[in-house]
């Protein structure tokens, strides 16, 4: 990446793996469980969070020197919520169909711990450009996990991907269902999302043992 210095590039690449917001920082778990029953909402959520986090981090970083620390959490919350609502209103006026698809996510974005977590941990202490990159990096790391979990939950739970029945028709018994395969309905429920994330964490830490905490 010629455009970015090595340090800046690290802001984007680190959260993708070794400092992933979900598997390492354990932020944003709630929405990772809520929206990953299918692949499509996972992708929508990933893009929305990227937008809000990058914008919000930049704004917070710009005003970081005038925010009184006693009420900084409230200030962060207000900025995140205001951003989301303004975007939602504009979409409702000019891209109504898109806003219908996103409506469900609005509440989930505002309350996403990653947003508050990165505002608090990074944007308050760093310049706007760095904060912007940090926002992009962290939401990308979040998005990757969401998409992986969404992929497995939709594939094993509904036998489809993005709504396409890749494994055949479960009711007509075509494709793999003809050989006695059944969808695992449990994959559609939140507990299996947690277990899937657990497996991802396990795989990641066994491949890179320096991530394991010792106490």
């Amino acid at each position: 990446m010629g455009l970015l210095s090595k340090k800046d590039a690290k802001l984007i690449t680190d959260p993708l793996a070794d400092n992933n917001p979900i598997t390492i920082q354990v932020l944003g778990i709630c929405s990772a469980l809520a929206v990953t029953a299918e692949l499509k909402p996972s992708i929508v959520m990933a893009i929305s969070v990227m937008f809000v986090l990058a914008m919000g981090s930049t704004v917070i970083s710009l005003i970081r020197n005038i925010i009184p620390s006693k009420i900084r959490i409230i200030v962060q919350l207000v900025i995140a919520a205001a951003l989301v609502i303004i975007v939602d209103q504009i979409l409702k006026a000019f891209a109504y169909e898109l806003s219908k698809q996103l409506s469900v996510f609005v509440g989930l974005i505002i309350t996403n711990c990653i947003i508050m977590g990165r505002f608090e941990a990074f944007a308050l202490a760093n310049g706007p450009w760095k904060s912007f990159l940090d926002g992009i990096g962290n939401s990308a790391g979040y998005g990757i996990i969401l998409i992986i979990v969404g992929f497995f939950r939709e594939l094993l739970g509904s036998g489809s991907l993005l709504g396409y029945k890749v494994l055949g028709d479960a009711i007509e018994k075509t494709g793999v269902y003809a050989y006695g395969y059944e969808n695992n309905g449990f994959m559609l429920l939140a507990p299996m999302a947690l277990i899937t994330i657990g497996i991802i964490i396990w795989v990641q830490r066994s491949r890179n043992t320096s991530l394991i905490e010792h106490n």
Partner: protein, 248 residues
């Protein structure tokens, strides 16, 4: 900066300033876009009603409304009459589709209030259908829909929508695989109103039995399904006295 960022005065001033700026910004955005948003909602309502009637751009699996540009013309072409129902009586009202169902339901808690029940009469391929708007509660927020019935009170099409059901689970009430199941379902058992249940563990996943007053529920969306069944039972019931007069 010379100011003491930790002083109480500064904190209060900052908080008030922030509230005023953000509040003004939000109010400005909301009021300047209000007109467009209302217009979009009106168009959406027309699209939803037409969808239930079977006027849409669906292919195999998608849910596609008629396009925004022609919806007004299509609406006046297919929707022949708009009625406001009271008991077995009906009065024509060319703007019945603008009646706010949510507001009517709230007002109706007052026993002296006469609730306006809109009903849309549409004609497609020579068949007259009666489209009933319904509104209820899902797991997180409101759910609503439009049910198209023929004069024998058999469902010929539905459209459901929701405010905030869980993505991938409850939100699937607006997917084809769920909505299409309602086609052909009866809501009357002889003369008794039964409604339609989104049933778990019904032994009819292909939905061949149209007289069982059941469709296959969505896995992982029990409460949304229960809310949807309750919505159908409650809101359709208000129209039954009038709809039964059509059956004779």
């Amino acid at each position: 900066m010379a100011k003491n960022l930790e002083s109480n005065t500064y904190t209060v001033l900052f908080a008030s300033g922030m509230v005023i700026i953000v509040g003004a910004l939000l109010a400005f955005v909301a009021s300047s876009l209000q007109e467009k948003i209302t217009e979009n909602k009106r168009i959406e309502k027309q699209q939803n009603i037409l969808y239930a009637l079977g006027v849409n751009e669906n292919d195999e699996t998608s849910v596609e409304f008629v396009s925004k540009d022609i919806v007004g013309a299509e609406f006046s072409k297919y929707i022949t009459k708009q009625l406001v129902i009271s008991g077995t009586e009906a009065v024509e009202d060319p703007n019945a589709y603008l009646i706010d169902i949510k507001k009517e339901a709230t007002e109706a808690k007052n026993p002296n209030y006469k609730r306006k029940l809109p009903l849309f009469v549409g004609e497609k391929d020579g068949v007259t259908l009666y489209i009933v708007p319904v509104r209820g509660k899902g797991l997180w927020d409101a759910i609503w829909g439009y049910i198209a019935l023929d004069d024998q009170l058999v469902v010929q099409g539905v459209y459901f929508d929701h405010q905030g059901e869980t993505p991938g689970l409850g939100s699937n009430i607006k997917e084809r695989f769920f909505m299409d199941d309602f086609k052909g379902e009866h809501i009357l058992d002889g003369d008794t109103f039964k409604g339609i249940n989104a049933a778990k563990g019904n032994a009819d996943p292909k939905n061949l039995d149209k007289m069982d007053f059941e469709v296959d529920a969505i896995a992982g969306a029990t409460i949304t399904g229960t809310g949807l069944s309750a919505m159908l039972k409650k809101d359709l019931a208000m129209y039954i006295p009038y709809l039964k007069t059509l059956k004779q």
